[in-house]
């Protein structure tokens, strides 16, 4: 009995240590998890340019992110095939396209039902050149187009 008693009296400190270490590790993992999602969000803006959300409807039916990356050829629409998928009922399945050619970004409507707005005006069938700071609207959602400077 004596040996067991001695062992138990030593081991109890180790046990408490282990459990607190466990709690510490779980908290650390949770923390890493949180910073991981933050990093994922930063990657979105890591393209040549991005669309920054400037207005939105008061709806929580779907998730909208604060910014979406714009690359050399970016399609926007409701369907999941698009590079930027926004499941808003006012958007067409493939709504618009932003592409990069000769050092400029161009915005073009892909025959959407509700049209695409450029600085408050419908662009119709025209293709417009985008400059940093321009307002681009699809459905009820308005974005600000921003080119990153470090090119």
């Amino acid at each position: 009995m004596g040996v067991f008693e001695l062992a138990s009296k030593i081991v109890k400190y180790i046990l408490i240590g282990i459990v607190y270490l466990f709690i510490l590790r779980v908290v650390k993992m949770v923390y890493l998890d949180i910073s991981d999602t933050k990093r994922a969000r930063r990657v979105i803006t890591d393209g040549m340019a991005y669309l920054k959300l400037s207005s939105r409807r008061r709806s929580k039916e779907y998730k909208l992110y604060d910014s979406y990356a714009v690359r050399e050829n970016t399609t926007i629409g409701r369907s999941r095939k698009n590079d930027i998928c926004i499941p808003d009922p006012f958007l067409s399945a493939s709504h618009a396209r932003i592409y990069f050619a000769d050092g400029e970004f161009y915005l073009e409507d892909l025959g959407s039902t509700n049209g695409t707005l450029y600085n408050g005006k419908y662009i119709g069938n025209y293709t417009v050149t985008l400059k940093s700071g321009d307002k681009v609207g699809f459905g009820n959602i308005t974005f600000t187009f921003i080119e990153t400077d470090d090119e």
Partner: protein, 434 residues
């Protein structure tokens, strides 16, 4: 994906050290202990790897639960071994309870995967409100009348199903969570309920009637802890879903009035005696106050670091395997372990709330909230009870107390919570794709 083994290895190490220590207890059944530690470690590691590798959802709730349940099994084995060595013919034999707890843990892991799969495969859970309510009503009736009822110490809460005795209140809790979630998920912050009946939303009427029906049945069953828990969940949901502040206050007033009425009729003397014992356990330390006196004695004698595993006389205490297991853990492993358990419950509820915030579907959100509030509330009621913070009511400590129904229902809730957290992962993947 990178595996993170840091936390799960701590759980395994904890199990191995504890069982390794008990192995050297003079007269212990060593084969049984080796088998137990093998099964526990294999199940925990296996489940963790499956959840991680197949990306089934959030692994953290399972990790915290693995720690809690292994603590429970170790504690029961420890007091069981000590009792076998000290007493010849005990009134309550603890060793079979420990073995049963191990079996229920194995079942629990099975239930975890089963409920996970069922919840993900079946769609449209929010439509069956009246089915959940009917199930709850049926369970009440089975426990009160009918051939299956088998009350224990005046509590009409047990049903005998062949060789196993089940506590129906645990299963009613699951029905209750689903019913409340399906009612409250129709509510949005801006519009409230759409269908109105005489100016009051239909869902509000249904949920109020259902809650008070549950409370009434629990008073008939003499199951007060669960009644308190149900009311707590209801109040929390009302506050979360932005019902005008009149509703929670009105409900509190209604319950207070009901309690007063029942008190004046002399129907709930057993409640009042518990409140008196809570205010001063000294008035009847050997009778009604026996449990709370012993619980406080256990926590005090344990001190900061406890007596060490297998060294305390905790096996002589009443209901050590269920209500008082927190006191027993404090006795043998110290109050620091008690703090650790409370912290683990905090982490579990934090993850639960986080899952509820991140999912977008209203029913998933409401269900995750209801389940996590009920788990956290249950832990609060029983830990508060044994530490004499609130009156002691018999309720199980989720994942820690011995008992089949409690383990199965808690693991089912954990499975559903993990299934809900998987939906959050899907929306996150979309971000990564872009």
């Amino acid at each position: 994906m990178k595996f993170r083994f840091g936390a799960v290895s701590m759980v395994l190490l904890f199990n191995i050290i504890c069982f390794g220590l008990l192995y050297f207890y003079p007269g212990a059944d060593t084969r049984e202990l080796i088998m137990a530690v093998g099964i526990i470690c294999a199940l925990i590691l296996g489940t963790y790897i499956i959840v991680y590798a197949f990306n089934l959802g959030d692994p953290y709730p399972f990790l915290t639960v693995a720690m809690l349940s292994s603590m429970s099994i170790i504690m029961l084995y420890s007091v069981g071994i000590k009792q076998m060595a000290e007493i010849e013919n005990p009134s309550v034999s603890l060793m079979p309870i420990a073995k049963a707890q191990l079996k229920w843990f194995i079942c629990g892991i099975g239930v975890f995967f089963a409920s996970y799969a069922i919840y993900r495969l079946i769609k449209g859970w929010e439509k069956f409100t009246y089915f959940y309510m009917g199930m709850a009503l049926m369970l009440y009736l089975i426990s009160l009348i009918g051939p299956l009822k088998s009350p224990v110490q005046g509590v009409h809460n047990w049903v005998k199903l062949g060789p196993v005795k089940l506590q129906v209140s645990e299963f009613i809790k699951l029905c209750y969570c689903f019913a409340m979630a399906s009612l409250f998920c129709r509510k949005t912050k801006l519009t409230g309920f759409k269908e109105k009946l005489y100016g009051i939303a239909r869902e509000d009427v249904v949920s109020t009637v259902f809650v008070y029906m549950c409370l009434g049945f629990f008073i008939l069953q003499r199951e007060l802890g669960t009644a308190l828990l149900f009311f707590f969940v209801y109040l929390a949901l009302m506050m979360l879903y932005d019902v005008p502040f009149v509703m929670p206050l009105g409900n509190i007033a209604a319950v207070a009035l009901g309690v007063l009425l029942l008190y004046s009729m002399g129907k709930i003397d057993y409640v009042m005696s518990r409140v008196e014992i809570w205010r001063d356990p000294g008035i009847d330390p050997a009778g009604a106050g026996y449990q709370i006196t012993k619980s406080l004695e256990a926590i005090c004698s344990g001190g900061y670091f406890g007596t060490g595993l297998g060294l305390s006389p905790a096996y002589t205490f009443p209901v050590i395997e269920s209500d008082m297991i927190f006191s027993a853990i404090c006795y043998e492993m110290g109050i620091f372990m008690g703090f650790a358990i409370i912290m683990i419950y905090f982490i579990l509820s934090y993850r639960g709330f986080k899952i509820a915030i991140e999912v977008s579907e209203p029913f998933d959100k409401a269900l995750a909230l209801t389940m996590i509030i009920s788990i956290a509330g249950q832990a609060f009621i029983i830990i508060g009870g044994v530490t004499k913070m609130i009156p002691l009511t018999g309720i199980t400590m989720p994942f820690v107390s011995a008992g089949g129904s409690s383990m199965i229902v808690c693991f089912a809730m954990l499975g559903i919570l993990t299934a809900i957290s998987h939906k959050k992962d899907k929306s996150k993947l979309q971000v990564d794709k872009m």
